[in-house]
Amino acid sequence: MGYATWREPFVRVVPFAGRYSPKPHDVIVGIVQDVQKTFWLLDIDASRWAPLHTSGTPWEPGPGELDEFLRVGDAVLVAVENLDATGKIGVTMKGEGLGKLSGGTLAGVSPAKIPRVIGKGGSMIHTITQLTGTQVAVGQNGRIWVDGNPDGILRVRECLRIIETEGQRSGLTERIEGFLRSTGPTDDTGPHPPRPESVDRRGPDRFEDDPSGPDDSPSIPSDESHEGEGPWET
């Protein structure tokens, strides 16, 4: 089930639904499923688990020390680095805004709805974070990390539900804004200072003198392809 395009003698169908299919430079939210000697395996809601090698992180754990940095069940914000012919998905944590996600909670929508969650030029996600006083990281794989006050998190979840079920209707951003303004103490002026730096780029032992600091590491091209928005909105 999808949209078909013809180029004789082939037909290409882009499915409406389905699992996340990775593209290079996508920023995604993964959950650690397994810790090996030199890499972690992340569940990214794609067809395969993706290995995150220590070389793709700001840390330098010795063999067997990986679980001091990330354990099974931890959530991380990573970027797709390469895809090979066997379907292996390489991801990296080096890049702006990427790292371990501490605190907060995970929500999700179908990967096909992610452009709606971000909105044109980030308008949707901007509206949501502004009016709920939350911090949100949107993964292209449909996983969305939300942190903030509990009420705000619940309202973000409700917004995501609306986007998931009514995403195809026009005027969605206005409708979401209306919903947020009608429910509850909105926080334009809110008493919720955004939490400082919830993304923990540090392991237990941060290498302060790391010459290739995280920020000048091979940077992930900013998400131009995703409507000009970075993964972050505060």
Binding site: M1, G2, A4, F16, Q168
Partner: protein, 253 residues
């Protein structure tokens, strides 16, 4: 022992050529299909076909468990057909038995011939078919439901697979047998078809048919499969055709 416990054989075909439930020989039972009733599955479908009620759920492509089944060049398809304990008159002993293993196997093989498994190496596509209520033809209903669920899951396939059973009832070839016809008829022949190419991907038979009858049965079954295929396409469209939606589903004109 004689006829201890044997039920009276009902009149399967009356003088006007009507069957036990009033259908003509080439008529299907009423069918309703719903795509996407389950939210946790990647794709799902519910099919009510006469008195059959069948739910199918599809997960994947995803990691293979157990891992030794993994194939490096393509996805594997794992199908489990299961009948609920309450799906038949007498309680069915729950769990896999020889019959459900066989049905799971033939359905798996039917889908292996249409799904583009090479696109997802080292993964598994898992299909679960649960028969909630049974009244003959559950493997066909299950196959149709699984087919819809695969499409709902966005899994690339050459075509939907359509299925129907044909049989011989009171000496005549009839489409889509119901329970009494299956039990007291002379033959039952479930078949699955890839409608675009006309390829048969499942065919089984119980009972006896001569060569002419078999040919007649296959023709009738093919016709039935195509009818069901149209209903399947409608059901898939219906999921995306909400009245408020400006986006129309399916293939652009």
């Amino acid at each position: 022992m004689g006829n201890v416990g044997a039920k009276e054989i009902p009149e399967l075909l009356n003088a006007e050529g009507r069957r036990i439930d009033g259908r003509k020989l080439d008529e299907l039972r009423s069918i309703t299909m719903k795509v996407g009733p389950l939210t946790r599955a990647d794709g799902s479908a519910f099919v009510e076909w006469g008195e059959n009620k069948v739910m199918a759920a599809v997960y994947g492509p995803r990691e293979v468990h157990p891992r030794h089944l993994m194939q490096t060049s393509k996805a594997i398809i794992q199908c489990r057909y299961n009948m609920a304990a309450f799906s038949v008159d007498e309680r069915k002993r729950p769990g896999q038995d020889r019959r459900s293993q066989e049905i799971s196997k033939v359905i798996t093989e039917a889908f292996e011939s249409v799904v583009f498994t090479e696109e997802f190496p080292k993964t598994s596509i898992d299909i679960y078919i649960e028969v909630l209520q049974a009244n003959a033809g559950t493997r066909c209903a299950g196959l149709v439901a699984a087919s819809l669920a695969l499409a709902d899951a966005g899994i690339p396939m050459a075509d939907l697979v359509s299925a129907v059973a044909v049989g011989k009832v009171a000496g005549r070839i009839a489409l889509d047998l119901k329970k009494e016809e299956d039990n007291f008829g002379e033959a039952d022949l479930p078949m699955a078809l890839v409608p675009q190419s006309g390829r048969l991907v499942l065919i089984q038979m119980e009972g006896h048919l001569n060569r002419d009858e078999l040919r007649q049965a296959l023709d009738l079954g093919t016709k039935g499969c195509r009818e069901i295929y149209d209903r399947m396409r409608e059901a898939l469209r219906a999921k995306y055709d909400t009245p408020t939606s400006a986006v129309s589903a399916g293939v652009p004109a």
